[in-house]
Symmetry: C2
Subunit: 167 residues, 2 copies
DNA sequence: CCCGTTTAAGTTGTGCGCAAGCTAATAGGG
DNA sequence: CCCTATTAGCTTGCGCACAACTTAAACGGG
């Protein structure tokens, strides 16, 4: 690789660096993909993708949730979750049903197969912890920082988003 | 949301939790998407997606790189980068050319338009730092942890992958 | 009670992200 | 020099991720 870094601007100490390695966003993005890459072969063995696994985790915790609750819990879009949930339904792991007293709401519930799958996945988090290779304290520290980051960003984008809506 | 957490296994202190909020992978995944979400409107203003921006960052640093070098720098696949690079080429930001002395290699080089785009993006990192809302020290700490995580995972998957290849 | 508004979910289109398979060019051993 | 293996890149297919749009049900003020 052509290793000159003399493009204009990088020497100015008053401006943030534009070098790849200085981008925190890239470190974060690469780490996230690396971790899901560790999950992939483990989940592949039971026929799940990583986002599908996250939906199952929520269901194992609550047994029944609405699509809206999944959207909120996973910070994902209806456009992402609707087809994903349908795929899990096609695999027999969950069932979808409109709520009788409010037909707008779709309830997602575990099937016996979905419940049983949990046993086959019990050991996965151990393998992940092993691959990540950080201490319990380091993971806790990183988790605290990243949770605060996400909360800050959510506040930020909520503020600059709808912006009180002009009357 | 049905808030019982009596699914089997979660009370056992010897086993890792399967609750969503205890999943470090999810914190990481959510944080990564949150940050790219902050970039989105800023990059949209200049017609770039976030991965396209990362490619441009590498090019602004090195002016000319091979596709292989982009694959290595961004930890991305040829299958991801090839069409992405072609889109950037279609937008006039870079040019692709096969190396004369080794026709397997494709060199990617900045065009004047690609170089000029850098000026229009100079202030973006400041806005990102603002939205993230962590101190410089906190970001440095998180970055150190995540870099080590990615390095560990890379070692791990390299070790369990080709596995020295039986003779 | 009607009608505009809000809400929950689904649909469509584009662009990643990655596995699997393919092609063409080069390297390297006999 | 041939011939096999390797290397760099491309293509195909599937599943996210998200914006923009659509639909249908419930709400709520007049």
């Amino acid at each position: 690789m052509n290793d000159d870094t003399r493009a204009p601007g990088n020497g100015d100490p008053a401006e943030p660096s534009l070098l790849l390695d200085d981008h925190f966003c890239f470190t974060l993005y690469a780490a996230s993909r690396a971790v899901t890459g560790v999950y992939r072969p483990l989940l592949d063995a039971v026929g799940l993708t990583y986002p599908q696994y996250l939906v199952m985790v929520v269901l194992w915790e609550h047994r029944t949730v609405t699509v809206k609750e999944l959207v909120a819990a996973l910070h994902l879009d209806y456009g992402t979750l609707t087809p994903l949930i349908k795929r899990l339904e096609a695999h027999g792991l969950l069932e979808r049903q409109r709520r009788a007293d409010d037909e707008r709401v779709v309830e997602v519930a575990l099937t016996p197969e979905g419940t049983a799958l949990r046993e086959r996945i019990r050991t996965v988090p151990l393998a992940i912890g092993d691959a990540i290779g950080l201490t319990r304290e380091e993971i806790a520290a990183a988790q605290d920082l990243l949770r605060r980051l996400t909360a800050n960003v959510d506040r930020h984008t909520a503020g600059t988003g709808p912006a009180v809506k002009a009357p």
